[in-house]
Structures are given as structure tokens and as C-alpha cells.
Symmetry: C2
């Protein structure tokens, strides 16, 4: 490190977030972020794929976007269109696909297309924390649509839309994760998908569909994507972060050219990383379905361990929202427990979890909730981490008083 610190910090613009802390390593019991299972990354096959594409076409890296369209690598976009047809019921072509640097850039681009300060957006009451913070940063008003076990509640959404209409407000979008909802893990059934589309039509509100976990469904099949039901009212995003590897920053937007051409004009990054796109294209063309099938099996095995461990440690104190796919589990502790009271203490002891309020439009409504990502830790670490969670939770809240076989305190 240099011995002189920056002398002109008074020039920083107003309104910056707090400084990032120094990185201190990953926590021992790591149940946060969307890490995947490192043992499931197909390292050898990716090595072969990378060597092949670089030997065959490495010279193309000398040109921005490989000399291809700024929407992304041709082969990858063709694969994404084919995958979406096969797995999500979507009819589209490579021309309807824009490759992004992860689905976070996709979210930024969609927000930048639609949302200005003072606008209103509808999110699911419990949803991806980044989706909330991104629109809040833009100065938009966030309304949380209630969920039930099967996803977004259509009746409650109608009430919200009617109320807003009476106020003269047309929301910029309804952001939904219909297939493996984050954090509840639910899958919206086909009937409700049709009802959701009908509401979007009736009220003239775009749907912003996030399918980033949709390839990891225990049952294999799932209902068609909302985009499949009405491409004229839906902007669809997805990612290879969960199905392949999160450190590969490869996501995508699927939408009509009227949408993509406007988004593309604001994507001033000279293209997303082309080597990652080339390698992913080469790998997934031959291996995607088989890989996802194996990965899903492994994740489901870890979920079973997590559910068992939570039962052992928390007994009936924890209500589990057992997911229908994906990498996380949402749970609810008794109403008098505020998980924020022990999140810092847990972290000091090496245990990281997502407190419910970070994943909720109204933090108070999720104060007793926790999101646990189970893809990264080994089954042994999952068991130890859940024991540690029960210990620190009991220490600060008196819950769980007892697990299945024993009494605390």
C-alpha cells in the first residue's frame, strides 16, 4: 500500500454509500450470497471447452464483441434461445437475446430503461435484496405484493393495481421471480401465470420476470415462463450463475427488439466478457441438461441435510419454506424473534445468514425470517452451521428452547 492517503476526499460526491470494509475472508458457516457448490463446477470440461474455443477462435478476441453483434456471442445467444424453448416454453431467436455481465447488469439495464426517480414499482413482498436496493437507489417507490405458498397473490396484486390506478399511478413494472421464488422457493402455477399476465394487460403494466434459478427445479419440468405467455408485456432475464458458476458473469435479457434496441443504446461497456461467453457456449451446447440434472440432484441432497438439521436443532420453532428448487431456504421463527438482534453476533462467530429484512420490501414484516443458502457449505458444515445458528439464536432470543431430542438452557 502507498504511504500517502488520498488528500481530496472532500471532492467525493454527496450521497455515496458507506465505504466497503476490507475483505476478511469468507465466514466459516457461509449461508449467504448465491455461491454454488464448488465440487459441482465442471472444471475439467470447462478446461477442455476453453482450450478448444481459444485454439479455434481466440484471435477473434482481438475485436470488441469478437467482431459480432453487440448483443453478445452468436453461439451463446443461439444456445440461450434453444434452452429457453426447451426448458421455459419460450419461442424466441438469438435476435431477442442480449448477453449481460451477470443478471445484475441485466437488472441495471432494465431499471435504466424504465425507472426514474418518483416512479412506482411493484415487487414481491419478500424478494431478492438487490432488486429492492437497486430501485430504491433510483429514487423509486417500492410496493410489496403479498405472497402465499404458491407465489404472488393475484387477488392482492389486483387490489394494489386498483388502488394505484385510483391514485393515477401506473407502476413501471411488476418484478417477479415466478420459478423458484427468491427467497421462498415457490413456483407459480400455470393458472396464476395466466392471471398475472391478464392483470398486466388490464392495467398496462410491464412484467419484469427474473428466472435466474429456473433451471434448478427438483421436478425437472416447470410451467412456461411468463415471457412465453405474452412476449409483448414481459421482459425476461436469466443467468448461468446458478446453473453453472457465479464467478462467470454471464446473464441475459430476452425481449422484443423495441426493448433491446433501447437497452443496447445504454449498454456502454463495449460488450460483456467474450472469453466467458465463448467458453460457456462451447460447454453448454454439449453438456447443459446433463450438468444441470447432476447439479440439481446434489443441491437437493444438501437441502435434505439442511431441512433435517433445522428440524433437529429448531424442532417446531422454525417454520420452513422448503423450496421447489434452487439454492436457498426461507424460514420463519416465532414472531417475537427479531433476527437482526443476533446477525452481527453470529457473524463474529463465523456464521453468516441473510436476515429476512434484507430480503423484504417491508423489513419489519420479515424480522423473524432468515434466508439460508445451502449450495456452498459441505453437508458437514451445514450441520455444524445450523447448530451454531440455533446456539446464537437461543443465546439472544431464547429460541429454540429445544430441538427434537434435547432441551437448551
Amino acid at each position: 500500500m502507498s504511504d500517502q492517503s488520498f488528500a481530496l476526499t472532500d471532492m467525493f460526491r454527496a450521497g455515496l454509500p458507506d465505504p466497503a470494509p476490507r475483505f476478511d475472508g469468507l465466514p466459516k458457516y457461509n449461508f449467504v450470497y448465491g455461491h454454488n457448490d464448488p465440487s459441482q463446477v465442471p472444471a475439467e470440461a470447462l478446461a477442455e471447452a476453453a482450450a478448444t474455443v481459444l485454439r479455434d477462435n481466440g484471435r477473434l478476441l482481438g475485436m470488441y464483441n469478437l467482431g459480432q453483434a453487440p448483443q453478445g456471442h452468436d453461439r451463446l445467444r443461439a444456445f440461450i434461445a434453444a434452452k429457453l424453448a426447451r426448458r421455459s416454453g419460450i419461442t424466441c431467436s438469438a435476435d431477442d437475446v442480449l448477453v449481460t455481465s451477470g443478471s445484475l447488469q441485466a437488472m441495471d439495464l432494465v431499471n435504466n430503461l424504465l425507472v426514474a426517480a418518483g416512479d412506482t414499482v411493484i415487487l414481491e413482498e419478500f424478494t431478492y435484496g438487490g432488486a429492492i436496493s437497486k430501485v430504491q437507489k433510483l429514487g423509486a417507490r417500492v410496493i410489496g405484493a403479498p405472497l402465499h405458498d404458491g407465489g404472488i397473490r393475484i387477488d392482492a396484486l389486483r387490489t394494489i393495481l386498483e388502488d394505484l390506478k385510483r391514485q393515477g399511478v401506473r407502476p413501471k413494472y411488476i418484478y417477479t421471480i415466478p420459478t423458484v421464488q427468491n427467497p421462498t422457493g415457490s413456483i407459480l402455477d400455470l393458472d396464476r401465470r395466466h392471471q398475472l399476465i391478464a392483470l398486466a394487460r388490464e392495467f398496462g403494466v410491464p412484467i419484469f420476470e427474473d428466472e435466474c434459478y429456473a433451471d434448478l427445479v427438483w421436478a425437472g419440468a416447470r410451467p412456461p415462463a411468463l415471457y412465453a405467455l405474452d412476449p409483448s408485456r414481459v421482459i425476461h432475464i436469466g443467468s448461468f450463475s446458478k446453473s453453472l458458476a457465479p464467478a462467470l458473469r454471464v446473464g441475459y435479457i430476452v425481449a422484443d427488439w423495441q426493448v433491446l434496441s433501447r437497452i443496447l443504446a445504454t449498454k456502454t461497456d463495449a460488450g460483456s466478457g467474450a472469453l466467458e461467453q465463448m467458453v460457456v457456449a462451447e460447454y453448454v451446447e454439449r453438456n447443459f441438461d446433463r450438468h444441470v440434472s447432476v447439479l440439481t440432484g446434489a443441491l437437493r441432497g444438501k437441502l435434505d441435510v439442511l431441512v433435517d438439521a433445522l428440524g433437529q436443532e429448531f424442532g417446531t420453532s422454525a417454520e420452513l419454506f422448503v423450496p421447489q428448487g434452487g439454492i436457498f431456504l426461507w424460514l420463519r421463527l416465532p414472531d417475537h424473534v427479531d433476527v437482526r438482534r443476533f446477525a452481527q453476533a453470529a457473524l463474529a462467530g463465523g456464521l453468516a445468514f441473510n436476515p429476512g429484512p434484507d430480503w423484504a420490501c417491508d423489513g419489519e414484516a420479515a424480522k423473524s425470517h432468515i434466508r439460508l443458502c445451502f449450495a456452498l457449505p459441505t453437508v458437514e458444515t451445514i450441520r455444524q452451521g445450523v447448530a451454531e445458528l440455533a446456539r446464537v439464536c437461543f443465546e439472544h432470543t431464547g429460541v429454540p428452547e429445544h430441538g427434537v431430542n434435547r432441551r437448551r438452557g
Copy 2:
């Protein structure tokens, strides 16, 4: 493509740029963007590097940022620090380096740290077009500092800073490309670098130093970076786009932790592409200096062809700013020539160049200028493209009336 176009375009926010056009292939005579020479991309060595890192550490891709600090891959940051010590005279550690998705993300992050609407920034009068458009988009006021053959004019810069001070304005930064200036290709000498730093100290203005071409200097050595002279007042950015391959989106910011910690808090992309970082790290550790030496030789050879062809076709009508490194040449036609008058016609004929006004704070002042990137086209295409440039330019402006050996018209 889907058969239904997007029905809710009325929901797009106000102030979006015009839609992007459909991609129509690269122009035949392509003198634009920062493409590199595809024949110089070390495809085979990158294939070996990729296979090695994926076999050894591919599993780490299962974790965001490879489970490392969000500043980027440890090995790459250590290499960047070592490279900067060796080539740019900078003393820093990996802790002072933040890896970005190309230097364009680096620019966005630095702008977001410092610039708000209504702020004033100082750029070089002729400079990278993206640097201008990015601050204009933020609503900042742009002031162009005059250049001469050796880079930014210190006397003129002092006058600007004094004028602004009288108005009570402290600019948010002086953006400069001191080593292979874009577009003039000049290198600021050491005396002027010290004078520039002295002005930054006197007026309390940060310097935003862009060194993205600095590894491609004909002479090999160059003066130390501004950051080397005063890390407390300089934010430094660089890239592997020009020294390795532009479709690899790997850039970096070098700055004190007081700067990086604030920038990092706004870098909400879950990290830049890790595979590209791993592959670049593995490759450059063993090959960087040798590769850059070979690449620079090849580029200089292309420049010689370009200079010769321009002499043949334009004779004394074109004043050439022969660069001291890099991938582009800046030229000036007689004052009565407005290159904007034939840029579209040229493009229709397959010839793309950067009109001077796109690379100038005051477009009118560069209306007779052209930037030609010479890295991508072959020497044959360079010669043909320059002939086409002379033809279309003559057709629309009467210039060049004659080249060295012949008369037109």
C-alpha cells in the same frame, strides 16, 4: 424473433438515447474503435493458460469472486502492481488495485465517485469520446484544456484553473491521458508531469489518469505515471484491452483505499468476470513483456504503412500527428474541410473513421480532424482504405487535390 412487438413502450423513461441500430457486420475499411490486431492475439498460449487455470482452480468459479476479495483475483492484482512498478514507476500493492470489467467500467466508477450534475470537469481538448459522453450524460460541465505536440499545455491549464477559481468553481478532476494521448498519440514529458501535479496540489483538484495505451510505447520506456509522482492526488486506470485483447473485459483502477473503499461500495455487479481474470493472470505472469514487445513492433509496422499511404494519397493536405505508441493516428485536413460532411457517405462505402468532433470537447475545433485506428486492418486493407478515404474526401470537399505522385479530378 417473436411475432409480437413490445406493447408498453410508453413506459420507457424520459431521456433515453436513440435506439441502437441492428448490427450489420463490420465495415470493410475499419479504422474505428479500439480493436487490436487479431493475428497478434496469443490464442495458443491463452488456450494453454485457460486449460491450466481451469484444471487447477476451476472449482473456485463456484464462488463469487473465487471466494477472494471483491477487488478482483489475487494473482491478477499482484501482477498489475508488479507491472506498474516495472513499467510505470508506480509503487503500490495488490491492495491498491481494483479489477474492473474493462476500463469503461473503471471510468463509470470514478465518475460515480466524484461527479454530480452541475459539477465541472477538465478534459484535454481532444480526448477519448467516451470520456466526454460519460460526463455529459451525468450533467457535468466539460472544459477542454488545450494540447500541444507534447500533451496538455500547462500554462493554459493554469489559466483555466485560475478562471474557475475566480468563479468559485473547483473542478472535480482533470482527466488526462499522459502516455500515448488519445487521439494525438503524444507522451507528456517528466517536467510537465511534475508541473501538472503541482497545479493539482495548488488548486486542490484530483487528477484522473488514464493509461490504457501506455504499455504500447515505441520507445519501450516512458516517464513515470502521474500516480507515481503523487498517489494522494491521482486516480489511475488502465486496461489489458490494448495490450492483450479488447474482447477480454479486464481493466483496473489504482488508488488509495480511501478511494477504492468508496468505489467498491458502488460496484454492485458481484465482481468482474473471474475466468477472464484467471486466464489473463496465468498468461501475463509469464508472457506480458515479451508479448507486448512483439505486439508493439507489429503495430509500429502498421503505423508505418498508414503514414506512407496517407503521404501517398494526401500529400501535404494532411497534417499527421504521428503517435509515439498505441493504435491510432490523428490527422488534420485543411481548415475548410469539415469531415462530418463525408463520414456517412464513407460508411456507406464500407469505410469507417472517427470524425474529429466525436473526440473533442468542442466539436467545431476538430471539424477538420480524423482519428484512424490502424491495429485491426491488414496492411493491404490500410492502403486500400486510405485510398478510399482520399477518394470520398475529395469527392465531398475537393481535398486532397493531389497526392505525392498524382493529381485528382
